[in-house]
Assembly symmetry: C3
Homo-oligomer: 267 residues x 3
């Protein structure tokens, strides 16, 4: 696979501590030409599913051969494996805890390797900061053209991410809010494909919290300012929004507490 | 215009969601050598005037031929035009909602173009994320040397930003706080030039909230620690500060609620 | 010293205002090939010791010849000197207020220079924003290969950072919490070397706030989830943590208020 030279970073480190810069310093020490792009460092501490969701959305916007480094790693220093993976023309480096599962499962040819070859690690490996000591140098070597297969044995059973897909019933389907973005949009686990399975059932009614909207729109401006609407967002998911407002508030749900809320689609 | 290769980014996306990284991934896919610099992603959602103010302050620090991408776009998917502009030796890409107006109005030769040529867009353009699908690739092509004039028809009447300049009266002038920075400095819409118009009127007295200071200082250390002062800030605006303290608190104004507060200058 | 081309940035500017981007624009105007890496911009306003601690942790992860720019500068425009320094194979630029002291003191050969040569400054130097007008261009020239000695006279007495090392007593030693990271880990001023001085005294008991733990572990997973432990963190400091939890909360200390709390180690 040709490399783009880009390394993206997704962590739960925040931006107050020196941890992100430590990772970047190690990367640049190995591969000074690497182009570093932050995805986010604001993943809630240890929230692997939230990280997996963000990576799944951002990664496909990057050119093929990009290395995606992800460190949300509550099991650091324990039994969990460190891995590098190939899938969909991209490379992934991080803990084997399901963080890359949405990307792997979308590519039947995915390959995962257990990082064991210490020549790709920092000289001293701490037990508490594998992001700096293992994942950073490995990402740098991958971006510079080394192969995951050089770094360890294949893994046949990478950890999968427990997912709760929407549930179909007679009158429609039921999903969940998986993310509330900065604009208060309620992003759900219901995808365009799920709706198409029941698309001949007429005009949908979507309910979440105290909000009820009819039909799927294609742009915010189809409703008046301050009105709620549902649409298929920019990555193919059903979203409930308010034109120039916050759906999370309108639904009577807090921003963080809205995550997990039930979304009902009836026809 | 020779290009610097730099693209700055100013948005209201925040840094928790994958939106900023998606924009950057698309840019680097078009122009892998682009140098990306974040101005801020913490513009309050939809606050075009706040974004315009930040861009006006940061852009002149960059070398000529830099592309400034700005996405504060509450009208996305609606009637508003997408534009690219040239002014003051820099390039600008974003919605036609006034966000670049301070930069345009400072250059009588400014030129604005309505982005219509789809060959500079992503293949599929969503109705909710023009930052990723239109502005990002356009910014990348501009940074790589393409001309705004290739991308659409000239716009004769770009949207202007409603501004409230300070008001002059017999005893002096009255302005507003337009920003409170991280240090609690109260940054006003009163510029050095405004004060110079009435400069022969003697020593000014500046009042904002519960604060009253005399004279314009040139450095914080001219007053004791904890004392308030007024000075002309690093971009030519009248600012009210407290040496090693927070003027916003001293004035009895909250950080966000201070924006818009009346500032009186009497002589 | 060979240069890495990298410039790291540590400030108390936050990321809402245009200040960080202004600094970066000036750097790139002088040295377009510079590679910019943010350490953090979230240092509490004016907290020189916090900045010194973060720099001390991040800087050694970067390749030799990196320039570390730090602007936590409550005395800007006053009497304090602007300096460039060399120590440990790295370069440092910022105010002479102790911010680089931990790096200097670790290298007996350190050299410090008072920045006086205005040809390395911006043309107009404001009295309130030396980060943009002095430190940014100086950092750029250093990254491009210029020598600190060209920029001003040697400084024999750089400002030292007042430190409070741990205190030894008959039963052990007493230190302080110096940082609480995003994971709630309590990071102390007690280093591995301090513990080794009393290492033959048996198994230590560590107390901080309402927490009491026995022994020094080497990995989080040695204790059950939710259990507290002490370990030597990734930069050689004693840390008190909770496996997959927050030690700051478990100790009954708030995140910010925990800084400065007494840590007792008894044997």
């Amino acid at each position: 696979m040709k490399r783009s030279g880009i390394i993206t970073l997704t962590t739960d480190f925040g931006v107050r501590d020196p941890y992100v810069a430590s990772v970047k310093g190690v990367i640049l020490g190995v591969h000074s030409m690497a182009v570093l792009v932050d995805v986010t460092h604001e993943i809630p501490a240890g929230d692997v599913a939230a990280a997996a969701d963000v990576i799944q959305e951002a990664a496909p916007c990057f050119p093929g051969g990009t290395v995606h480094l992800a460190v949300v790693d509550p099991g650091v220093g324990g039994e969990r494996r460190a891995v590098a993976a190939e899938a969909g023309g991209h490379l992934f480096v991080g803990p084997d805890n399901g963080i890359f599962w949405p990307m792997l499962k979308a590519d039947p040819e995915f390959r995962v390797f257990h990082l064991r070859n210490e020549r790709f690690f920092r000289k001293e490996v701490s037990s508490t900061f594998h992001g700096r000591d293992i994942f950073a140098p490995v990402a740098a070597y991958l971006a510079a053209g080394r192969e995951p297969a050089e770094m360890g044995e294949p893994v046949a059973d990478p950890v999968e991410l427990a997912e709760a897909p929407p549930v179909f019933c007679e009158s429609g389907l039921t999903g969940r809010v998986i993310r509330v973005d900065r604009f208060g949009n309620l992003i759900t686990n219901i995808r365009r494909e799920h709706l198409e399975e029941v698309a001949d059932s007429g005009r949908p009614v979507i309910e979440v919290g105290g909000l009820r909207v009819e039909g799927i729109r294609s742009r915010y401006e189809e409703v008046d300012r301050g009105e709620a609407l549902a649409l298929i967002g920019s990555t193919g998911r059903l979203e409930v929004s308010v034109n120039r407002g916050r759906a999370s508030e309108r639904a009577g749900l807090g921003d963080q507490s809205a995550v997990g809320s039930v979304v009902r689609v009836r026809f």
